[in-house]
């Protein structure tokens, strides 16, 4: 299990950085979807099966669709992108920042790794997830319903074609 998680962590980091660094928006969106898929595998390995399903289907599926439709609505010539947005210059220091903060974080981790809490094993209860979602988190469910209503209103208001003032 650990080997799979370590591999996926590496993949997620690489794809995440690619999503941020790539010039082409389309490639960025695809890299984001790949990072999302890697996260799905990590979630599955950590025992969060439902969250993994959601992550893969919604985040790497639906969100990518949203991005691609937004990108296709705003077609800038691909060749102009690097020149227009100077991403190469603006993002040039990111690898350096990441390496420095990575070293710092590893130093912190080494000095305090033994004091991190040890995982508590949980007793497996059938359908425990469903029970928690429906019996314990009702306020969240109401919140989700209201978020979805807001989302529907957003689509109706913001994506409506028409004269701009």
């Amino acid at each position: 299990m650990e080997a799979v998680v370590y591999t996926c962590l590496g993949l997620m980091l690489v794809f995440g950085i690619l999503a941020v660094m790539l010039h082409s928006m389309l490639k960025s969106a695809i890299a984001l979807a790949a990072a999302s898929a890697a996260l799905g595998v990590i979630m599955y390995e950590l025992g969060a099966i439902w969250a993994a399903i959601f992550e893969v289907s919604v985040c790497s599926g639906l969100v990518t669709v949203i991005f691609i439709s937004a990108i296709s609505l705003s077609n800038t010539d691909k060749k102009d992108l690097p020149k227009l947005y100077e991403d190469g210059k603006r993002m040039a220091f990111l690898p350096l920042v990441l390496i420095i903060s990575g070293i710092l974080l590893i130093v912190v981790a080494i000095s305090s790794v033994s004091s991190l809490p040890v995982p508590t094993p949980v007793a497996e209860v059938a359908d425990n997830f469903r029970e928690i979602l429906w019996n314990h988190r009702q306020a969240d469910i109401w919140g989700q319903i209201i978020v979805l209503i807001t989302g529907a209103l957003a689509v109706a208001v913001l994506f409506k074609e028409g004269e701009l003032p």
């Binding site: 995440g16 941020v20 960025s28 969106a29 991005f67 040890v118 995982p119 989302g151 913001l158 994506f159």
Partner: protein, 104 residues
């Protein structure tokens, strides 16, 4: 001990992803890229929540949190894309350097 190294690895990866996302948010000029930076940081946050559930033995509670936050994330992405597209229709580009009407 190996469990704790495993947890630290996840924490470090998550922090690096959050740094990349926030760096992108601050430095890039492209609106869609800003939203992608947001998403990258949110991925790391979902991972933190699942890790917390794994450590404290509440995987199922953590799952409900993550599912709720994914739903919210999608709606945020829709709203952000909607605003970006309207700005594109106004200015003909996704460049945030056009946004200079509000100053002071």
């Amino acid at each position: 001990m190996s469990e704790q190294i495993f947890e630290s690895a996840i924490l470090i990866t998550g922090f690096l992803l959050i740094i990349s996302g926030c760096y992108c948010l601050i430095r890039t000029y492209h609106m869609i890229k800003i939203i992608i930076g947001i998403e990258v940081a949110m991925k790391a946050v979902s991972m933190f929540i699942i890790l917390s559930g794994y450590i404290s033995g509440n995987e199922d509670l953590a799952q409900t949190f993550v599912i709720t936050s994914i739903v919210i994330e999608v709606v945020v992405a829709v709203v952000a894309a909607g605003i970006a597209i309207n700005l594109y229709r106004k200015y003909g580009s996704m460049d945030i350097r056009n946004l200079t009407k509000l100053k002071g």
